[in-house]
Amino acid sequence: MSNLHLITVLVEDKPGVLARVATMFARRGFNIHSLAVGPAEELELSRMTIVVDAPDVEQVIKQLQKLINTLKVVELSGTDAIEREVMLIRVNADTEQRSSVLDAAAVFKAKPVDVGATTITFEVVGDPQKLADFLELMRPYGVVSLVKSGRIALAREPKARNLRAIG
């Protein structure tokens, strides 16, 4: 059974905050599956999106809240969050395969961002499932290299106010 949990953490944007979070995870034996950090809506704040592999997510959240520079920790389950990840994926595409690869990519709205003599590199944006599905689709052609940004997520607005849910 998967123990993956999606957490967003609002922290003060101070030197070493990422180190504090990472050190705490190491100290407590929690595994980071994915981590993305960037500036948040206000100056001096950062938001981390962490996918953690831990059997007891409540303890992870409490230990995160205990850090002095942490302002807010929220667990987002898959249903109430908007999740996105960017993947750059370079696949084999010689002249024989090229059109087939491009056709398959078009279905996923994967954008070709670099074309070489024998490869094409795509940029794919989406939720984790879409990225996983696209990767499976590309495997038969041969995946040369791949990089992911790490998942980012925001909670959805409560349903009543969420009049134009399009994400």
């Binding site: 922290v11 003060e12 504090r20 050190t23 409490k62 230990q63 809240q65």
Partner: protein
């Protein structure tokens, strides 16, 4: 406006916080801070090793309840403090550590005496700072004191690069208001949870109040007594809570845990309700958690939300300060009881007193002319002091005997290294305690293995005029290691024997400027201790040469179930 150096500002900031004494050791990077200290009213105690300085700060904090301050230089100075910081973090002791650092321009270049102190101490402090903006100093120190002493107390470290220390600033008094958006400890328990707790307590047939070190940290001993009496609740006090509830009280069942009292261990095990206050279900208390008090519901009161549910799920979790929540519980109970009284639970109370009388802690026999028993020595110390002393212990057999056999009746009279199990803690911690409580008789009860780890601090004690007393329970072995090797490793005493007659502790005492005495027989013990008690102008070292084969009982083997308590040597087979 007068401009002063950051070093002067640092000392001024410490004076502003009311610091009377700091324990430390100077060196290159921290030298700028030592210069203004020369003119300051703050007393500096020169430890002989930075680890000692850290433990002195801890002993001071544990004896007084105030923040202990230690100071060291960069690199090895700072790394030598790490053990003390880890110890303070485990036992929630409020200390402030100030360390020098190489100049900001040299950081990261492997400069002389450079260590990544900030990174190294991140997991062993409640919070730490590397100051890179000189103007922050007064506020950082103020914030550090606030963090160390509020919420769940703990160690805070401030790392100061040498060039920052030499910068000049305009002094401003800290505003007194600390605004940390991510740090707002909850001190008052949720009223609905308090209500639910009282309902559970009233319904319980076999309750036990499990008092932890948080009672002492929050100064809740009086509130604990009032509530336990009103609710008619039997109480156990953990290793960190000895003295939080009087050992002499009829409701007291003793210390629980690996070497606890049978009555305390078994009462928890058979209870239907555990009311844990300022305790954290440590493995030394619970044994195998899956077999711990399986029939008990749990009320868990702690100021640190992360402790609640960490080991054992709580039926009624209450986040709050032990003292405040105990007042709330007592008010609620008083309201519920009205003119009535709490349930008597006669059957449970009779069972408990049966266990107490059937299995008292003391199971040794001191034969006249026989080998001196360590337990006898500790009981004699209790008698000769009338129990009126602050007892400071190291880690091992002597610590367990000191925790079991002394009758603690007041908080902050028992100081030891609980969670971290830091050998060598006693001597420096006793020095710190004596600095904080100069009118008290401070006795370190130490093992010979522990003593040899930090004994150089006795030189500090004698030269600084800090008359602590040390009782060395000398079994010329690492006693607890030997006990485990005897029970679990087929008597293969690998690397646990210390030399029989070296050092000569009496000569050593004299060489370090202390009075030194030795007791080898039962008859010699009391006179020697009385002589030691009468000396107040210098430190005293008393060596008691004891039976190396004596073992600590009761014992629950590590990771075992608390259902199986080994009561004596005879139970081992």
């Amino acid at each position: 406006m007068e401009r002063i150096s950051i070093s002067q500002a640092l000392i001024k900031a410490l004076e502003f916080e009311g610091v009377e004494v700091m324990f430390g050791h100077p060196g290159g990077a921290i030298l700028p801070a030592y210069d203004p200290l020369y003119d300051s009213k703050i007393r500096h105690v020169l430890a002989r090793h930075e680890q000692g300085a850290g433990h002195m700060a801890e002993g001071y904090a544990q004896a007084t309840g105030r923040v202990g301050v230690c100071i060291a230089t960069s690199g090895p100075g700072a790394t030598n403090l790490v053990t003390s910081l880890a110890n303070a973090y485990m036992d929630s002791i409020p200390i402030l550590a100030i360390t020098g650092q190489v100049p900001t321009t040299a950081i990261g270049n492997d400069a002389f005496q450079e260590a990544h102190t900030w990174g190294i101490t991140m997991p062993t402090t409640k919070h730490n700072y590397l100051v890179t903006d000189a103007a922050e100093i007064p506020d950082v120190i103020h914030e550090a004191f606030h963090l160390a002493s509020t919420g769940r107390p703990g160690p805070v470290l401030v790392d100061l690069p040498k060039d920052i220390l030499n910068t000049e600033v305009v002094w401003h008094d800290p505003t007194g208001i600390v605004d940390l958006p991510g740090y707002k400890p909850t001190t008052t328990g949720h009223p609905l949870q308090v209500k639910s707790a009282i309902e559970l307590i009233q319904q319980s047939q076999r309750p036990v109040l499990y008092a932890g070190g948080g009672i002492i940290a929050s100064g809740a001993h009086a509130e604990l007594l009032t509530f336990a009496e009103r609710a008619n609740l039997p109480v156990v006090t953990t290793l960190m809570a000895r003295g939080a509830f009087p050992d002499t009280h009829a409701l007291h069942l003793g210390m629980p845990g690996m070497h606890g009292f049978y009555s305390a261990i078994t009462a928890m095990q058979k209870s239907d309700l555990l009311i844990a206050i300022g305790a954290r279900f440590d493995d030394r208390v619970t044994g195998d958690p899956s077999h711990f008090a399986t029939g008990a519901k749990i009320i868990h009161v702690d100021i640190d939300p992360a402790e609640i549910g960490k080991i054992r799920k709580a039926d009624v979790p209450i986040v709050g300060d032990a003292r405040t929540v105990l007042r709330q519980l007592d008010e609620r109970l008083a309201k519920v009881l009205g003119t009535g009284t709490a349930p008597t639970r006669t059957e449970w109370m009779e069972t408990l007193s049966g266990w107490k009388s059937a299995h008292p802690i003391s199971s040794y026999e001191q034969e006249p002319g026989g080998l001196l028993k360590p337990q006898y020595v500790i009981e004699e110390l209790f008698k000769t002091t009338g129990g009126d002393a602050i007892v400071v212990a190291g880690v091992g057999q002597h610590q367990m005997w000191a925790a079991q056999l002394w009758k603690y009746t007041k908080p902050r009279t028992w100081i030891n290294s609980g969670g971290a199990g830091t050998m060598g803690f006693a001597v420096p911690a006793a020095i710190g305690a004596k600095m904080g409580m100069p009118d008290e008789n401070v006795w370190a009860i130490d093992g010979d293995g522990c003593f040899q780890m930090t004994m150089q601090e006795m030189i500090c004690a004698s030269t600084e005029g800090i008359p602590v007393k040390v009782l060395i329970i000398n079994n010329h072995n690492l006693g607890m290691v030997r006990q485990w090797q005897r029970i679990f490793y087929n008597e293969r005493f690998s690397a646990s024997e210390l030399t029989d007659h070296t050092p000569d502790y009496v000569k050593l005492a004299e060489a370090m400027g202390c009075a030194g005495f030795r007791a080898e027989t039962a008859e010699e013990v009391a006179p020697v201790l009385e002589k030691a008690n009468s000396i107040n102008d210098r430190p005293v070292i008393v060596e008691a040469r004891v039976d190396p084969d004596e073992m600590v009982f009761p014992m629950v083997p590590a990771g075992g179930s608390n259902d199986i308590v080994i009561l004596s040597k005879d139970d081992l087979s």
